[in-house]
C-alpha cells in the first residue's frame, strides 16, 4: 500500500498535541473510532475545527478533556438536542470557543486549498459573530461600482475577509479505501476540501478493497486521491453510533442514551468508561484480525 495502513491507535498517535484537527459534521462521517482512540491515548490540547458543525464527536472530546479550543458554526447532538459537555464547558469557561458561521468555515478552508492568505465572504456585517472575531477583517470592496458614497450610502460596500484555515490534520471515517490509499467519499465533498486544506489527512475506513477506486470512471468522481491521504486505518463501524452516508444508518437509540448520560459529568464519565472498555475489546479483536493482513 502506498499510504500506510495503521491500527486506529497508531493513526491517532500521528496527531501531535496542540494540533488543529478538522472534523466533518455528523452527517458526513466523523471518525468515532479515532475519537475513542484519542481519548484512550490521553491526548490533550487539541484544537477542534468543525466543518462546519459537530455533534457527539466534539462532545466526547470536550467532555474527556482532549480539546482546549473549538471553532464551529454549531455543536449539537442533532435531533437529540444540545451537546451537554460542550454546553457545560462553554458556560464553565473550560474551552475557548471561536464562534463562526457555516459558509465561513467552508470558505476559509477553500482559501487554504487554493493557497490564498484570505478570502472574502458576504453577510456577517453587523453580526456579533463578526464582532467577536478579531482575526477577521472588513474592507471596502475594491470592485464596488461607483462606491457606496455615490449611492448615498454610509460606506463603500464593506465586505469581510477571512484568513485561510489550514488544519494540521483532517480526520474522518469513510466507507472504503483501496490499497493505493485512495478513499471513497461520494458526494461528501467537504471531506475533499478538508483534505486539500490540511497538512495531513488521517482516515478510518470500513474496509480496504482490492483494485483502484479510480479505475472506474463511473465512481472515480467520488474519490479522494491517495495524494492527499497520510494514513488509513481499518475500523469497521467506525462512525457508530452516527451513520455513514451510503453505508450505515445512525443508531438513534444509542445517541439518545448518550444524550441522557452526558447531562451530568458523572453520567458522562460512566458512559465514557463503558465506551472505552468496548473500544479496547474491539481494538483487540481488530488487532488479532490485523495480524493476518
Amino acid at each position: 500500500m502506498t499510504v500506510p495502513a495503521l491500527t486506529v491507535a497508531e493513526l491517532v498517535a500521528l496527531i501531535a498535541p496542540g494540533s488543529l484537527v478538522a472534523v466533518p459534521p455528523d452527517y458526513s462521517g466523523p471518525s468515532l473510532a479515532a475519537t475513542r482512540a484519542l481519548i484512550a491515548a490521553g491526548t490533550t490540547g487539541l484544537r477542534l475545527l468543525a466543518v462546519p458543525t459537530s455533534g457527539m464527536q466534539a462532545d466526547l472530546l470536550i467532555g474527556a478533556g482532549v480539546v482546549d479550543e473549538v471553532e464551529a458554526a454549531a455543536v449539537l447532538l442533532g435531533e437529540h438536542g444540545g451537546a451537554p459537555r460542550f454546553t457545560a464547558a462553554v458556560v464553565a469557561g473550560a474551552i475557548r470557543m471561536r464562534d463562526t458561521t457555516c459558509p465561513a468555515v467552508h470558505a476559509a478552508l477553500q482559501a487554504a486549498e487554493k493557497g490564498l492568505p484570505f478570502i472574502p465572504l458576504r453577510g456577517l456585517i453587523g453580526s456579533d459573530v463578526l464582532r467577536f472575531r478579531p482575526d477577521w477583517q472588513v474592507i471596502d470592496n475594491p470592485f464596488a461600482v461607483g462606491g457606496g458614497a455615490a449611492a448615498g450610502a454610509a460606506s463603500a460596500d464593506p465586505i469581510v475577509l477571512l484568513p485561510a484555515i489550514r488544519p494540521d490534520v483532517a480526520l474522518f471515517h469513510a466507507p472504503r479505501a483501496d490499497r493505493d490509499g485512495n478513499v471513497w467519499i461520494g458526494r461528501r465533498r467537504e471531506l475533499v476540501t478538508m483534505a486539500h486544506a490540511a497538512s495531513a489527512t488521517l482516515v478510518t475506513v470500513e474496509e480496504i478493497v482490492d483494485g483502484s477506486l479510480l479505475a472506474d470512471e463511473a465512481t472515480a468522481a467520488g474519490v479522494l486521491p491517495a495524494l492527499y491521504v497520510t494514513a488509513v486505518a481499518v475500523a469497521p463501524g467506525g462512525a457508530w453510533p452516527l451513520g455513514l452516508p451510503g453505508h450505515s444508518e445512525p443508531d438513534n437509540a444509542e445517541q439518545a442514551r448518550y444524550a441522557r448520560a452526558a447531562r451530568s459529568d458523572d453520567g458522562f464519565r460512566a458512559y465514557l468508561a463503558e465506551l472505552l472498555a468496548d473500544a479496547a475489546g474491539a481494538a483487540d479483536a481488530a488487532g488479532a484480525a490485523d495480524a493476518g493482513r
Binding site: 459534521p25 452527517y27 458526513s28 466543518v51 462546519p52 458543525t53 464551529a72 458554526a73 454549531a74 455543536v75 449539537l76 442533532g78 435531533e79 444540545g82 451537546a83 460542550f86 454546553t87 462553554v90 458556560v91 469557561g93 470557543m97 464562534d99 463562526t100 458561521t101 457555516c102 459558509p103 465561513a104 467552508h106 470558505a107 477553500q110 465572504l121 458576504r122 453577510g123 456577517l124 456585517i125 453587523g126 453580526s127 456579533d128 459573530v129 463578526l130 464582532r131 467577536f132 470592496n141 457606496g148 449611492a151 448615498g152 450610502a153 454610509a154 460606506s155 463603500a156 460596500d157 464593506p158 465586505i159 458526494r187 461528501r188 465533498r189 467537504e190 471531506l191 475533499v192 476540501t193
Partner: protein, 252 residues
C-alpha cells in the same frame, strides 16, 4: 405539540412560500421541511413547480458539491426562501443562536449560529419561526446577534427576514422600519395574549387601531386538501429524514 397545532404551523409556514421557485430547509428542521414539501405539493396541484431542498434528506437534496453548496447556491440567487429559528428573537428581527448572557461569558449556551449570519443576508425571504412564543424567546434585545434583522445602508443585503411564525401568531417583518407587524392570530389568541407573551413592541396591520383586536385576521386553518396532503403524502416524504415527526403529521 398536538397534531392540530402542528398542522396549523406547517400550513402557516407553507403559506409564506406561495409563488416562489426554490426553497431550502436546513438540517434538524422538521417543521419547515414539512412546510416546504406541502408548498411543493400545493404548487404541483396547480401546475406550478417549487424546487424543495431539504438538507439531511437523501430524496430531497440534489446537492453534489458538499456542505458549501447550500451557501454558494444562496449567494448565486437561486434560493428564494430559507427558514431560521432562534434561541432569542427580538423586535428588530435580530436572531440569537449562540446563548444568553454577556458573550463570551454565557449563562446559557445554544448550539451556535449555523449559517444564519450569512443566509439572513442573501436569501430574499428568510422566514423566522419558533413554536415557543414567550418573553423568554421574544426579547426586547437579543444577547448575541447571530444574524441582524436589518443592515446599515450600503451593506450588501439582497435578503433578510420577511416573517415570523410562532405558536401564537404570525408576524410580517417590515424591512424599512426594522419592526414586526402582527398579521394573524392563531385560534384562541388575542392581541392582548400576544402582547402579554411578547418581549418587544410590534405594529398592527394598516388601519387597525391599537385598541381593537376584532379585525386582526385569524391564521387560516389548514384546508381539507392540506390535511389530506399532510397525511397521505407529506408524512411519507418527511419520514426518511424525520421519522418521529412524520408520525405526528400522519395523525393530522
Amino acid at each position: 405539540m398536538a397534531a392540530a397545532r402542528t398542522a396549523l404551523l406547517v400550513t402557516a409556514l407553507a403559506d409564506r412560500l406561495r409563488g416562489l421557485s426554490c426553497v431550502a430547509v436546513g438540517a434538524t428542521s422538521p417543521l419547515p421541511a414539512a412546510a416546504a414539501l406541502l408548498a411543493r405539493a400545493r404548487a404541483e396541484a396547480v401546475g406550478d413547480r417549487l424546487q424543495t431542498i431539504v438538507l439531511g434528506s437523501r430524496q430531497h437534496n440534489p446537492f453534489t458539491d458538499g456542505g458549501r453548496e447550500l451557501f454558494d447556491c444562496a449567494a448565486q440567487g437561486r434560493i428564494d426562501a430559507f427558514f431560521l429559528s432562534g434561541g432569542q428573537i427580538d423586535g428588530a428581527g435580530n436572531v440569537n443562536l449562540v446563548g444568553t448572557g454577556d458573550y463570551p461569558a454565557l449563562t446559557h449556551r445554544f448550539p451556535g449560529s449555523f449559517g444564519s449570519a450569512y443566509l439572513a443576508f442573501l436569501v430574499p425571504s428568510v422566514i423566522l419561526y419558533r413554536e415557543e412564543h414567550s418573553r423568554r424567546v421574544l426579547v426586547p434585545r437579543v444577547d448575541f446577534v447571530s444574524a441582524p434583522g436589518t443592515s446599515a445602508p450600503g451593506t450588501y443585503r439582497p435578503g433578510g427576514p420577511t416573517a415570523l411564525v410562532t405558536g401564537r401568531c404570525a408576524f410580517a417583518f417590515d424591512r424599512a422600519r426594522g419592526r414586526f407587524t402582527l398579521t394573524s392570530l392563531h385560534p384562541g389568541e388575542t392581541l392582548e395574549s400576544v402582547r402579554e407573551h411578547t418581549g418587544f413592541d410590534f405594529q398592527l396591520p394598516e388601519g387597525e387601531g391599537r385598541a381593537g383586536t376584532a379585525a386582526i385576521p385569524t391564521t387560516p386553518a389548514p384546508t381539507t386538501a392540506d390535511l389530506w396532503l399532510l397525511r397521505e403524502r407529506i408524512a411519507g416524504e418527511v419520514a426518511e429524514t424525520y421519522p418521529r415527526f412524520a408520525a405526528l403529521i400522519a395523525a393530522v
